[in-house]
């Protein structure tokens, strides 16, 4: 098992190092193949590891990192069924995205840098999935943050792209401060911080401490997963190449926050306030994201807000303590959202880099029927049309909320249900506008056989988007919930009242999704010739980004300039210069007293003698 896990981590890292070392000599095809091979090998190792995995978790230590004065951090791994499934999901989606990328980046000259970062990202993401020691996990946590920064700003000739990457890095770093603080508290108490250690000592931990640590980790998770109030970096992150958005900003990295909460489930179990907060934050973010998605015209920004919204549902489930439900939605979302992003990538390339859905229209569907079919699969799952994967997984999260007693969870349920309705509306708004309308000012269409080749890796995802729900169907259908059963020994089992609630919730969910579809049809059907609403509060993400700009970024820049010019140069340096000038003046005066003119010298001498005599006289009397 140790070998398999080590190999799983080794291949993507080796791939990244090779890409960096031979960036000049690798041909485009070799670079893409090498990167995909590295991920394929990692996927093979992940599959083999899962195959050999029993119910009992494996605790593996790959070596010691730090040890000083009672504090220690190790390269240690907790490989249980949750981690096993997560690694398979990550490497599987990553492999398809690598295959897609090889064609998507066909005209870019920096392909080696691209694949280097992409492989490196998978390496760090696997660390997050596997790590037991929370300091080691933090290496992956910050590592994916860096890769995200580098890939958002991949086309770095354009400063807005770099700024988007910088914003993502900074905002997630702000969240990470919570992570470090939580680590520090745990370490101050016990000298080391690991998931197994926390779980073992959980009974001895006071509730107040657990709550504090839980809130700090929740803050970190909000940063990474773009939840309120740290969500405003994700829409801008769409500046990166579209496969990157699919991999990092939809399928894997943004779900790392939820995954962390899942791994820390024992901690959340004894800190109910944290769970309730996570659930409410998640539901509120789900509604926020869905509402903001309504106001976007850029297909990628729609999907970005949709990601914020969907990750909110995962927070909701994780906050309710339903790990397998949250993980179910994480997987389903990884499949259908990466599918949708990659479809969006083809749409954008087909429309000559046009992102505006109001300039695409029915011609696109007629030119690329396969693409439309793929999109329809993803859209059906995202909007939770009955029997798709998203239907079951989202229904499960809502059932968690309603089954939980307490007003906070009821509020979360209501928010989540409204968001579910809005989700269907914005998804089919996107669908009808981008694939059915007849725009007045359409973008030119590109016909390139490569576009059709890019569709190929997407079909498995489309199948999963439609059918993956049957891995974990609700109880009332009388089928076996494989995922719950598989995870049963690893995480807290599902309380029975959730299962009972599911029938009711799934019915509501179906009604909401279908009525959302109908409303979207009423509003955006081709016969109405939909036009974009003028940009408003929803387009700007309800002003959250502007708020941070005006009240944090701009004042800090002003402060910085004022401190430099005002305090550093004028006050401190000025004081030093003033002292120097003062000394210089003093020395001039002294020099004049002993200058060449005999009269001055004489006066000085007599004056000094007089002063001395006076002093002596005063002392003697």
């Amino acid at each position: 098992m140790t070998t398999l896990v080590a190999l799983m981590l080794f291949f993507p890292l080796a791939g990244a190092v090779l890409q960096a070392a031979f960036s000049r000599s690798l041909s485009r095809a070799a670079s893409g193949t090498l990167a995909a091979l590295a991920i394929a090998a990692s996927l093979a190792a992940a599959l083999a590891a899962v195959w050999n995995l029993g119910v009992a978790p494996h605790e593996i230590t790959l070596g010691q990192w730090l040890a000083f004065d009672g504090f220690s951090a190790n390269f240690s791994i907790l490989y249980n069924r949750l981690a096993g499934l997560m690694t398979v999901t990550v490497t599987f989606v990553a492999l398809l995205i690598h295959l897609y990328s090889a064609i998507y980046m066909r005209e870019d000259t920096s392909f080696a840098r691209y694949f280097c970062y992409l492989n490196l990202f998978v390496f760090f993401m696997l660390i997050i999935a596997l790590a037991d020691d929370l300091v080691f996990l933090f290496m992956g946590w910050e590592g994916v943050g860096f890769c995200s920064f580098a890939l958002i700003g991949f086309w770095h000739e354009e400063l807005p792209n770099v700024d988007a990457g910088r914003k993502a890095f900074l905002m997630t770093r702000v969240g990470d401060l919570g992570y470090v603080a939580a680590l520090a508290i745990v370490i101050a108490a016990s000298g080391s911080a690991s998931i197994t250690g926390l779980t073992a000592q959980i009974d001895a931990m006071p509730t107040a401490t657990a709550t504090l640590i839980g809130f700090l980790f929740l803050f970190a998770a909000c940063g990474k997963s773009a939840q309120l109030p740290l969500s405003s970096w994700l829409p801008d992150a769409m500046a990166g190449p579209t496969p990157v958005s699919a991999l990092i900003h939809a399928a894997t990295m943004v779900t790392a926050g939820v995954y962390l909460l899942m791994r820390l489930e024992p901690l959340l179990a004894i800190a109910p306030d944290v769970g309730a907060t996570a659930a409410v934050i998640g539901a509120a973010t789900a509604l926020y994201g869905a509402a903001c998605a309504m106001g976007q015209r850029d297909v990628k920004r729609i999907l970005a807000y949709s990601t914020i919204s969907q990750v909110g549902y995962m927070f909701l489930a994780a906050g309710c303590g339903d790990v397998s439900g949250a993980f179910f939605h994480l997987q389903a979302h990884a499949f259908f959202k990466s599918l949708l992003f990659m479809v969006a990538g083809i749409m954008i390339q087909a429309a000559h880099e046009e992102h505006d859905i109001f300039r695409m229209g029915a011609r696109l569907r007629r030119a690329m029927p396969g693409l439309f079919l793929l999109f329809a699969c993803g859209a059906a799952a995202l909007s939770a049309l009955p029997l798709t994967s998203g239907y079951f997984s989202k229904g499960r999260t809502l059932a968690d909320a309603i089954a939980h007693p307490g007003p906070a969870y009821l509020l979360a349920f209501i928010l989540g249900a409204v968001a579910a309705f809005l989700t269907a509306v914005y998804v089919f708004r996107l669908c009808f506008v981008a694939f059915f309308s007849d725009p007045a000012d359409p973008a030119r269409l590109l016909s390139d056989p490569e576009l059709a080749r890019m569709e190929r890796p997407l079909w498995p995802l489309a199948a999963l988007a439609l059918g993956y729900g049957f891995v974990n169907p609700p109880e009332f259908m009388g089928l076996k919930p494989w995922l719950d059963v598989y995870l049963a020994g690893t995480v807290t089992p599902l309380p029975p009242n959730v299962e009972h609630a599911e029938f009711f919730v799934e019915m509501i969910d179906a009604v909401l999704a279908v009525s959302g579809l109908l409303l979207a049809w009423l509003l955006y059907r081709p016969a109405r010739h939909p036009v974009a609403a003028p940009a408003g509060a929803l387009t700007a993400g309800l002003g959250l980004d502007a708020f941070y700009r005006t009240w944090i970024a701009a004042p800090y820049c002003r402060l910085s300039a004022r401190l430099w010019r005002g305090v550093d140069e004028d006050m401190l340096d000025g004081a030093a210069m003033g002292a120097a000038t003062g000394l210089l003046t003093l020395s001039r005066v002294a020099a004049r007293l002993g200058s060449a003119r005999p009269s001055t010298t004489l006066t000085t001498l007599l004056g000094a003698a007089a002063a001395l005599l006076t002093w002596l006289a005063l002392r003697l009397t």
Binding site: D69, V135, M139, E142, E157, R166, V180, A184
Partner: protein, 497 residues
């Protein structure tokens, strides 16, 4: 093996080499080769000492002790323990980096240039090895001389004014410390030990509380200027801006570290009571420095000035950690100083290369360097990330230990140190953005790293990675000496954090 005067060899080998350099002053290539060989010899010597005395059978400390001025109790006494060894190896390494950092600054008078660098190395090694206070003060003053000439002769722009500023600041502090050393010697001469300047004897000398506080203040003022702590930092940005690349390497990599080292080695154990009294003040100055320098760095218009302010920020955090009373944070401060020497060494070398290629280091003419010189860009980004404490690189080890240690003793200082990780990233990302990315704002060509520069940065990168991933050897070297020093100052501190 112990009979050989290893420590004297460490100190005087570069000085002898420096004296030999004028022999080949006509030939620049010969000078460079000779200087590089001398620095490599120093590194090999340091490595050999590390292997011999800190290897599988550690045999530290290594001591050399000779009578020098017996009537005053002044001895030529050197001592090398784990803590010294870390900095000795670092000094030798930075020395090699200085030799290959630039082929531009040394053009004027190569023999003098390299002789000054070697002399600077020699005095810095002396500071890290001296265990007699008088000898220490001597090396402390002596280190100013080569650096003064290095900046004053080989610097850019307004170099002489800046060199004098540097000298006056440092000499003022040094003078006060020298007075304090003499006062301490006089106090001790009336005690049971008789006239002595040995650190171990003075540590146990009975110093009246008030006197101890004044002497501590004099010591710390001198160290604070060297570190530098806000508000006595004004010499550093100027000195860096005008210094040649090797001068910046020595300043950031070595001189600043002598301040931190001396604070740990001398100020704390000599005046434990005063250290307690002044700890809140020093912590406040360090943390203020962290935020202040981070904010000021963001507004800078010159690459080197920005990196100089980042030094002030990092060293501020280190000072807060040193006086915190947490052994973990103290160890973290040592790692942070070593890491900072490596990362800022890399950044200053790269900034120097920008200056050589474009004739200016102002942000208004930079931008787009990644496309012009991808290897340069990768190295620059790597150093920035290490400086930003990305886990896996050296900066993280130090900062993590400091934060975790501070949380144990002073939770609010710990919280501020955590917040410091965000403000640090702000200016570092600005540095990356305005240098590497965006459209090129200068039409001048920008050659990628050549073999010499690649070797330099690869060596630094390997050290940064090693320290970041396998800090074990460094930590175990530092553990013993730091524990005994902390035991003198914070005896009640619970073991284990």
């Amino acid at each position: 093996m112990r009979q050989l005067p290893w420590l004297s060899l460490l100190i005087f080998w570069p000085l002898v080499a420096a004296c030999c350099l004028p022999l080949s002053r006509g030939d620049a290539t010969a000078c460079r080769r000779f200087a590089l060989l001398a620095a490599l010899g120093e590194l090999a010597l340091a490595g050999l000492i590390a292997v011999l005395f800190a290897g599988p059978q550690p045999d530290l400390p290594v001591i050399e002790d000779l009578a020098w001025i017996p009537s005053l109790g002044i001895r030529y006494s050197l001592s090398l323990d784990g803590l010294s060894l870390i900095f000795v190896v670092l000094t030798a390494l930075i020395g090699v980096c200085c030799m290959v950092a630039s082929r531009h600054d040394d053009a004027k008078r190569p023999a003098l240039y390299y002789a000054l660098i070697l002399a600077a190395l020699s005095t810095v090694q002396g500071i890290f090895l001296a265990s007699d206070l008088f000898l220490f003060a001597l090396f402390w003053e002596a280190q100013l001389i080569p650096v003064f000439f290095l900046i004053g002769i080989f610097g850019h722009g307004d170099r002489m004014r800046v060199a004098i500023k540097f000298f006056l600041f440092s000499a003022t502090g040094g003078l006060l410390m020298f007075l304090a050393v003499i006062a301490l010697g006089i106090l001790a001469a009336n005690g049971p030990t008789g006239p002595t300047f040995a650190l171990t004897d003075l540590t146990h000398a009975a110093v009246p509380v008030t006197v101890g506080r004044w002497l501590f203040a004099a010591f710390v003022l001198s160290f604070a200027i060297k570190i530098p702590l806000v508000p006595v930092h004004m010499w550093l940005p100027d000195a860096h801006t005008e210094a040649p690349t090797a001068g910046s390497l020595i300043l950031a990599g070595l001189l600043l570290k002598t301040g931190g080292y001396a604070l740990i080695r001398f100020a704390l154990p000599l005046f434990p009571e005063a250290a307690h009294t002044f700890a809140p003040l020093l912590t406040a100055l360090g943390i203020i420095g962290l935020f202040y320098a981070s904010a000021v760095a963001l507004a800078q218009e010159d690459v080197k000035r920005l990196i100089a302010y980042s030094s002030i920020g990092h060293m501020g955090l280190a000072v807060a950690a040193i006086v915190s009373g947490s052994r973990l944070a103290l160890g973290g401060a040592v790692v942070l100083m070593v890491s900072h020497a490596l990362t800022s060494g890399g950044l200053f070398s790269l900034a120097g290369m920008i200056g050589e290629r474009l004739g200016s280091r102002r942000f208004e003419i930079l931008g787009g360097l990644w496309n012009k010189a991808p290897r340069f860009g990768a190295a620059f980004l790597f150093c920035i990330l290490a400086s930003a404490a990305l886990p896996g690189l050296s900066g993280f080890v130090g900062e993590a230990m400091i934060v975790f240690g501070l949380f144990k003793t002073h939770i609010w200082v710990g919280v501020l140190a955590v917040a410091g990780m965000a403000v640090t990233l702000v200016y570092l990302l600005r540095l990356a953005r305005d240098t590497l990315f965006g459209p090129a704002r200068s039409p001048l060509p920008f050659a990628d790293l050549n073999a010499r520069e690649t070797a330099l940065l690869c060596a630094l990168a390997v050290c940064i990675l090693l320290l970041g991933l396998f800090p074990g050897p460094v930590l175990s070297l530092a553990a013993g000496p730091l524990d005994s020093i902390a035991g003198l100052v914070w005896p009640a501190a619970t073991p284990g954090l």
